[in-house]
């Protein structure tokens, strides 16, 4: 009897070690995947790094025929679309955060709104792109004809509009959680001093959650920078930068992600392909850094 139990615990101990090893092994795999992604990108973009150097980043011309590769037009295109989208989305994501975090945190209406916002994030980006191409583009074109710019319809502005809607949920859902975390004694104190709802939001809630809301905006930004399909379908795919500001905003352009999607399967010489991968590498670094900063801020916020 005693022996049997010992045997049992022995095999069980063996399983316990195996189990712990599996846990560790899977976590190591995870780390390896990320390192592998980084190394693959670096190795594959080596030919372009070697032959183009750091000047690649601000080279203004992207000309696969003449073998000239400059990432500047795509950096500008990416930054413009993302920031316009971000600026358009911030009032909305803040409004949603404040409404669902403070004014109406419970009840069916609030649930409905919250679920709809989450649904915005759930709709695949290809569907936004498809819809944008067939429905939004003609609308924008009429609008552009009215304000007197070239009526392209597709371009940075259109892509930003769709992108703005797509990224709202990322900042909003974080904002809701953070605003709900504001300690009620703080708010109650302010109310007791005779503050109105608006004053409480402005002087208590906003200062308290400022860094957290900023982190939410960063997460939205990271999402916007890497978004591929919807932007590819709506941005117009031109590698030359327009000269006037108006043409730049309403005209066609290209982002880093869209140029990769467009040209990756077609890049027929080494440096060309490698230049595209280097774009991917830059994109990787930028989004990862923005995301990590965002996460850091959130961690610090929720821990304090």
């Amino acid at each position: 009897m005693k022996n049997k139990r010992l045997d049992l615990s022995y095999t069980q101990m063996k399983w316990e070690t195996v189990f712990r090893r599996i846990l560790i092994f899977m976590s190591v795999i995870l780390v390896l995947i990320v390192i592998g992604i980084l190394i693959t990108l670096i190795i594959e973009s080596m030919p372009s790094i070697k032959s183009l150097g750091i000047g690649y980043l601000w080279g203004k011309v992207w000309d696969p025929v003449a073998n000239i590769y400059g990432a500047y037009p795509f950096l500008i295109g990416t930054l413009l679309t993302s920031f316009i989208a971000l600026i358009l989305s911030i009032p909305f994501s803040y409004a949603v955060s404040i409404y669902l975090g403070e004014y109406n945190p419970k009840g069916w209406l609030s649930n409905l709104l919250k679920n709809s916002i989450e649904l915005i994030a759930a709709v695949p980006s290809i569907i936004y792109g498809f819809w944008g191409l067939f429905v939004l583009v003609p609308v924008i074109r009429t609008f552009e004809a009215k304000i007197g710019v070239a009526p392209y319809g597709i371009g940075i502005f259109t892509a930003s509009l769709v992108l703005a809607v797509m990224i709202i949920p990322y900042a909003a859902s974080l904002g809701i959680t953070l605003i709900r975390m504001v300690p009620s004694p703080l708010k109650e104190g302010a109310y007791a001093l005779g503050a109105t709802r608006f004053e409480v939001i402005r002087s208590v809630i906003m200062p308290y959650t400022r860094s957290g809301l900023f982190a939410g905006v960063l997460l939205s930004l990271g999402r916007a920078l890497g978004e591929t399909m919807a932007v590819t379908m709506l941005i117009g795919n031109t590698s030359t930068l327009a000269h006037t500001f108006k043409d730049l905003i309403f005209g066609p352009s290209n982002t880093m992600a869209s140029v990769i999607a467009n040209e990756f399967t077609e890049a027929d010489h080494t440096v060309y392909l490698s230049a595209l991968i280097e774009l991917g590498l830059v994109l990787f670094f930028v989004t990862v850094i923005i995301n990590l900063i965002g996460k850091r801020i959130i961690t610090r916020f929720t821990n304090s």
């Binding site: 399983w15 696969p64 003449a66 009526p151 795919n237 031109t238 399967t265 392909l273």
Partner: protein
């Protein structure tokens, strides 16, 4: 215990997938990729071929440049391209590649000019200047000179081009390079160039959609597509100065040339007085030596049979889709090229 169970399941899954891996090596699907220009024709021929022989052909229209790249990487059985391999690409592949002509087609200049109903005449130098951004309005004297008696509006020209690497772009820029020295010096020919003006649409749909919806737009599409979408397209002056309407006949006239033995020939800016000048062959590209990686002789044979079908029975699909079928002499050359393909040094057909 659950862990072991799930591990077992995983192991079984891996084993199963390994099995299907070895089993599927023998399945009858051929894989091709490349030219969007020839896609409508290929999709029709391959659908027919599948019902006839039970061999399925998966052809993805990712652009000619893509087709060449994927052939180089040996990820496809054949590539489709509207441009022969250039020196750079040939060097990268390193082994002989056969160019088998499949058909020829025309690239037409589509436009959307409000109030213009009588048709439009253009020549290479004006077209080049438009795409260089030098001619910016439709009532420009240079355009007016080609269209006497037509009232052209003052609308600004919106230039539209392909955003993706495309054989259609290659044919178009090949033509401009031949007829517009300024274009040759500044831009050149390739499947993806650094467009000096305008905006890009992805694929033919992108270009056509933009042209249709944008007043004042000019673009270029393959003929079949412009016809199907009821788009207006211009008559283009050929070498003799005659304005030629792109039709099946004028395309056929251009493609009726003596092919060199390797079939790599550019048809643009044809000498034929009846020929439409923006015309090109479209080729299927395969390795001359079919024994590479772990290809079976059987697969190589299937591929050759398919291409044989393409240049014979498949040709009847050309005309309804507005591609010019291969001429008799071109067919002879194509047959000869196909017969030169080898497996392990021995001819396949």
């Amino acid at each position: 215990m659950k862990v072991i169970k799930s591990l077992k399941v995983a192991a079984v899954a891996i084993a199963a997938s390994a099995l299907s891996l070895s089993a599927s090596a023998q399945d009858n699907t051929l894989l091709g990729a490349g030219s969007t220009f020839v896609y409508p024709l290929f999709s029709k021929i391959f659908a027919e071929y599948a019902t006839k022989t039970n061999v399925k052909v998966n052809y993805q229209s990712i652009g000619s440049g893509g087709g060449i790249l994927q052939l180089t990487n040996k990820t496809v059985d054949f590539g489709g391209s509207d441009a022969p391999l250039n020196a750079d690409q040939a060097k990268k592949i390193g082994v002989p590649v056969l160019h088998i002509p499949m058909a020829s087609g025309a690239v037409v200049v589509t436009y959307n000019v409000p109030g213009l109903t009588t048709g439009l005449n253009l020549n290479g130098s004006v077209l080049g200047d438009i795409y260089l951004g030098k001619i910016t309005t439709w009532n420009d004297p240079k355009i007016a000179a080609l269209n006497k008696g037509t009232k052209l509006p003052e609308t600004p020209i919106v230039v539209i081009h392909r955003s993706d690497g495309s054989g259609t772009s290659f044919i178009f820029t090949d033509f401009l390079t031949k007829v517009n020295p300024d274009w040759a010096a500044k831009v050149g020919k390739a499947s993806a160039v650094n467009w000096p003006a305008g905006l890009g649409g992805k694929g033919n749909e992108g270009v056509a959609g933009l042209v249709k919806q944008t007043p004042g737009a000019i673009g270029y599409n393959e003929l079949a597509y412009a016809i199907q979408n009821k788009m207006a397209y211009a008559d283009i002056a050929n070498k003799t100065g005659k304005f030629i309407t792109p039709t099946l006949e004028s395309t056929t006239a251009s493609s009726n040339v003596e092919l060199p033995a390797n079939a790599e020939v550019s048809l643009t800016n044809t000498d034929n007085p009846k020929g439409y000048p923006i015309t090109s062959f479209t080729w299927a590209l395969i390795y001359k030596e079919q024994k590479y990686s772990d290809r079976s002789a059987d697969r190589a044979k299937q591929l050759l049979k398919l291409l044989w079908f393409n240049i014979h029975d498949g040709q009847k699909n050309c005309a309804p889709l507005n591609y010019a079928p291969l001429s008799k002499s071109a067919l002879k050359v194509a047959e000869k090229i196909l017969k030169s393909a080898t497996y392990d040094g021995k001819p396949i057909l």
